[in-house]
Amino acid sequence: MTSLVVLLTLPLVAALAVLALPERRREPLGLLTVAIGLVAALTLAASVWRSGPVLLTLGGWTPPLGIALRADGLAVALILMSALVMSAVALAARFEMRATRVGPRAAFGFWVLMALLWGALNAVYVSRDLFNLYVGIELLSLAAVALVALSGTAKALAAALRYMIFALVGSVLYLAGVVLTYAAHGVLDIGLLAARMPAESDALALGLMTAGLLAKTALFPFHVWLPTAHAAAPAPASALLSALVPKASFLILIRLWFEAMPDLASSAAVMMLAVLGSIAVIWGGVLALVQSRLKLIVAYSTVAQLGYLFLIFPLAGGGGSVQPWSAGAWTGAMFLALSHGLAKAAMFLAAGICIAAVGSDRLGDLRGLVRHLPMTVAALALAAITLAGLPPSGGFTAKYLLMTSALAAGQWPLALVLVGGGLLAAAYLYRPMAALFAREARIAPRPVPRIWQAVPLTLAASAILLGLFSATPFDLLQIGRPEPAEEGL
């Protein structure tokens, strides 16, 4: 429980401290914060592993009056993944800022916004209160929009504004659902909602909340803001935005559909989500295929990868009915969220290294970089293996689980999407790889410190390790898993 409180408050305290303390304390403070956060995340994971979900009623007031938090296996897995990504980003940001000579404005802003983003993520992962989740994702969205605008170019500002508009529409729709839920039931707690008397307006409330969260998760057709926004941010910020931010709103969707109102998941509704996800997989992949800049390819790949996550809805809970394959699909999607987070952060950090080395991320300018930056290229290659779902990566485990459950469920179109998405990913990731491994180099790169290069490599390697040692995370994800998917194993 102590570690949970630490994880909730540490990033916020760090943000306040960076604001209040003089500049020279900033970097040591940032690194100390991520170190403590990593330790706290491991402690919390160990505690959940040993003795089940950790509960916390804030202020000692139980719902419906107060707000309850609950760290289950899924929340803890995301917390741990976020702490890893945050640590990597903090390390890489130090080098990045020196290499790109970031001014005092952006350097200051980055540390504060990163801490705020982290605080928001941890708050969302464990919250059980629909309105508290609203405040959490608002904090997340504002920090994320500010990170997109950090570079200050007209392009970045336009991208940030487009993101902002989608975020505003999303928060209004989500809030409308929350309002209807409270107006009908007088409770906001997810656990209490699961035990509610169903009301006629519940389907509308769930629909509004879902629509809002889809806009924030950038599911097709709400994806248009994502690629430009993620590509416009500085590379460490892009890593946070792509790897972590969409996972928060996706997690709320999971909480709503599987825990708060599982009885409302009609087969048509869950199929709709899966169809949108499938289109996102294909469309994001096709658009990634035609990009000529590394960061845009990686950003469009996020659109595609987020699409996979939505296959969970028909496979793991359609109509609230429990099927033998539910557990596999559920765990598979969560594995995908985790391994995508690690691999995508690695890719953006590696892209940042490439930009620092050759001053551009155009594929043509990256030619032959493998000889100068072997570690970075290795990181990109390992991350690509995960994203394409090739063995032995975490992405492979995820897709394997999803595939077997899709076939068991007789949903062969979804299985086709999984195969097609994998092929597309292999195709769009082949192009940067081909450029990086080219024989001739176009630009003589500047040297990049090896420690910096080791950061994305570590992240990408951990995405592979997630596949090699999948038993432990697999079991961790089962702790406190919502009922409908539980009995199928």
Binding site: L56, W61, I67, A146
Partner: protein, 308 residues
């Protein structure tokens, strides 16, 4: 009779909002939005939600209005391209209409649920005003995060400064004739506002008022003082300013952590200490909210414009 009043009020609210959305010209839209905030505040008064009426009067009719007005002035000054591309009216109208119809339908089928029993827990909360008890005690985590949201927005606004301007004072360089009406107004209003803001916080634990309302009123008079050149624009790097920004969330966080360290739950307030604790937290929050809101409206650091 009472219904006629509410009908007239709602007709005005709808008319004004329609004018703000559909009327040509941004300035007109902004002015209609300012009057909109006022009518909605009256609406909250009619609904018996006095704390919300106060918040809406201070924020909706006051701060948001001046935020939009100054922004509109800035846009005109940089002579931004005003060509208005047609949007996507039909799909947008369909979406808007669908949302309205859905909510209207929901209103008639919503059951009346049993609300959480605030009254029963109120004696242990340390506040006589149930809204304050919910904000500062029962749902303190929301309020803490909300004060951080304000800070995140301010950080985001600060990041919009140009790199060369980062060390410059925040916002435009407001000036006024030292003996003029504006300067006089800027000197007379702040003391009254200060007393009223402090009163709102003090009284807010028992009756209408609270940290957010008090902070907003204070932010309003700070803005008037800055525009009247009574208060100089601060630099973002100023230590005192930074301290004022983190004071509220900091005190809130530390008191929550102290409760956890002393064996309670995170953010818990023991019934004996709750009243003074809420007052201290609210006082600290008010300072931070006032400064944050005023600086949000003032905008990012700007080098002074060269004299024309």
């Amino acid at each position: 009779m009472s219904l006629a009043l509410d009908l007239a009020l709602c007709a005005l609210i709808l008319g004004v909002s329609l004018a703000a959305v559909a009327g040509a010209g941004v300035f007109r839209a902004v002015i209609f939005f300012i009057t909109y905030g006022l009518f909605v505040a009256i609406g909250w008064a009619r609904l018996g939600a006095y704390d919300v009426a106060l918040a809406e009067a201070a924020i909706g009719a006051g701060l948001t209005g001046v935020l939009l007005l100054t922004a509109q002035g800035r846009l005109r000054r940089v002579q931004a391209d005003r060509t208005e591309r047609p949007g996507a009216p039909l799909p947008a109208a369909l979406a808007g209409g669908a949302v309205t119809l859905a909510l209207a339908w929901a209103w008639f089928v919503l059951p009346v649920p049993e609300a959480p029993d605030v009254a029963q827990a109120l004696p242990q909360s340390g506040a006589g005003n149930p809204v304050t008890a919910v904000l500062l005690n029962f749902r303190a985590w929301d309020t803490l995060l909300e004060s951080i949201v304000l800070l995140a927005a301010l950080l985001g606004v600060w990041m919009l400064a140009r790199d060369a301007d980062w060390d410059a004072p925040l916002g435009p360089r407001y000036h006024a004739r030292p003996s003029g009406v504006l300067a006089y107004f800027g000197r007379v209003l702040p003391p009254i506002g200060l007393i009223f803001g402090v009163y709102l916080v003090w009284a807010g634990t028992e009756t209408v008022g609270g940290a957010f309302q008090g902070g907003t009123v204070l932010a309003g008079v700070v803005l008037v003082a800055m525009m009247a050149q009574v208060l100089p624009p601060p630099r973002a790097s100023k230590r005192l300013l930074r301290a004022a920004l983190v004071l509220g969330p900091g005190v809130f966080l530390l008191s929550g952590l102290a409760a956890a360290a002393l064996g309670g739950s995170f953010l818990s307030l023991s019934a004996a200490l709750a009243k003074p604790a809420i007052l201290i937290i609210e006082a600290a929050l008010t300072v931070s909210i006032a400064v944050t809101l005023a600086l949000l409206v003032i905008g990012p650091a700007e080098a002074p414009e060269p004299a024309p």
